[in-house]
Amino acid sequence: MPIFPLPQFVSQALSDNWWTYLAFGLIGFGFGYVLEISGFGNSKKLAAQFYFKDLTVLKVMFTAIVTAMTLLFLSSAVGILDFNLVYVPETYLWPGIVGGVIMGVGFIVGGFCPGTSLVSASTLKIDGMVFVLGAIFGVWAFGETVDPYWQWWNTSGYYGRLTMMDVFNLPTGVIVLIIVFMALFMFWGGEQLERIFGKKDLSKEPKLRIFGALALVVVAVAVLLIGQPTPADKWQAMSSEKMTLVETRAIQIHPGELLASLSDQRLRIVMIDVRSEADYNLFHIRGAQNVPPEQVESLVPYLLSEPTGNKVVVLMSNDETAATQTWMTLTANSVSNLYILEGGINNWISIFGGREPDITATPAPVVDEALMYTFPAALGDRYDASHPHPEEWELEYIPKIKLQQQRGPSGGGCG
């Protein structure tokens, strides 16, 4: 099993471990230190990027991106890092595009971006300090003015966790290699621009950078050749530990617990019904979405993305076999807070369907995963038993849902 990212940062609240704040502080220290020694505290150097005289911004940014990217996917390839647990900024396409253009304008007008302005201010540059004051005003202004277009901001072009691999439908290694080549080409082009517009003598540039570029390509090719671990590989590594959860019935929740959780404001329950469409149309729990087992993996990016940090996923089939199979698939994809409806829909109806005269149990002994009830019509979720009132039912069960911390950077964690 991959040991990174550390569980203290993934499945526990930060406040449980005081040292996590220290770790973030040290990372921030490194961040600020490197920005400063790269010249990012100097607005003149930053702005020169946009007059083709000094392309430090482009070089530092893209070197950092390709370095971090290749190391990230190399660690994932060799199995020490679980990439599904790494936070990928979600795609809100239109707010991102409009916000991006606005940021570009702010960059050329003010001469900084927020990170660089902090470093500039901390090295006593007055223009940096004033930019920070402006940024504080801008952040405040956004909070005050977002209401009228709240809907657009939250939904327009929302694709959740969407990577370049999804967009181009290419393996990770191929994308990594393409981006490395793209960056190297940009560095070459950038140096030519500096020669023409900035009158720079390229012969004085260190030869070592050629070797650096070669090393980068070699690592990227290695990432391509090793390949990323498949869910099957991951399952192999975790199966003994995870099967214990299944066998000790730690993840099968009683219908009563599901009912109570559905009305719990603090939780956001996602119900996935993996039965056939016919069974789903006959009867399903209100709010459950029908996803055939073979399509369930396409839900992974959605289940990994975190508009809210209190998501609980409940899987259900007629009995438990199909739901357990799906549970294994999703667990292999690092989806957390994942549960199975105990006894499936059959058990749900046996508890909540008693008051429905129209729903009758089939007399014949039935095979596993068959619906044990007959319905007069395919009413879907319009039976009372598909949305029972929680107040009307006093059920005894052992609560099993333990919410694992999903620290969603909602509302400004990132950036």
Partner: protein, 185 residues
């Protein structure tokens, strides 16, 4: 000559000779390693505007708590009993300020000055810095992250939206660069 010695010490710490910046590719590799370590250990990348945002929400929470509870955006950060400062982005921002300060002092670059193009006054430069900061931060909140949280962190994790956004930052800046050439050249 005691005073001379203490003066020398002061010079030693604060008036060091200004050293040149590191080579951009070296800076880039170092920044990439910091970014990689952040992802590896904590699963989060780097960020600047998010932490700034939370610091401001914390101040608003003290000054006008009622206002927070009526503004949906602020409610997410600091509503009810939520502490807006209890988030990873806050120590990252504080660390970055500290790290920048240390690097500036060690390399003799910490001094009160205004960096600007030769053809504008200090006053104009500062007005532009304030306006630019306000515009940038507004865009950063709209895009849910700035150059650090989106372009760097999203770029390295191959987020499709972050790459689109990064192109837009460059496009926006280049599109306007001509009109601001007097400010910088």
């Amino acid at each position: 000559m005691k005073t001379a010695a203490s003066a020398k010490l002061k010079i030693g710490l604060f008036n060091r000779p200004e050293k040149p910046y590191v080579h951009p590719y070296v800076g880039g590799v170092l920044l990439g390693i910091v970014l990689f370590l952040a992802f590896l250990i904590t699963r989060n990348g780097l960020g600047a505007s998010g932490g700034l945002n939370r610091l401001i929400a914390a101040v608003e929470d003290i000054v006008a708590p009622g206002h927070i509870d009526q503004t949906p955006y602020l409610l997410k950060l600091a509503g009810g009993e939520k502490n807006p400062l209890d988030d990873w982005s806050v120590p990252v921002v504080l660390g970055a300020i500290f790290g920048g300060a240390v690097a500036g002092i060690l390399n003799g670059r910490s001094k009160f000055e205004i960096n600007k193009g030769p053809n504008i006054s200090n006053r104009t430069r500062l007005i532009l810095a304030f306006i630019g900061g306000a515009i940038f931060a507004y865009g950063a909140r709209m895009a849910r992250g700035c150059t650090s949280g989106q372009a760097l962190s999203g770029g390295a994790t191959l987020s499709a939206g972050s790459w689109a956004l990064m192109m837009c930052i460059f496009a926006g800046a280049y599109a306007l660069a001509y009109f601001l050439r007097k400010a910088w050249n």
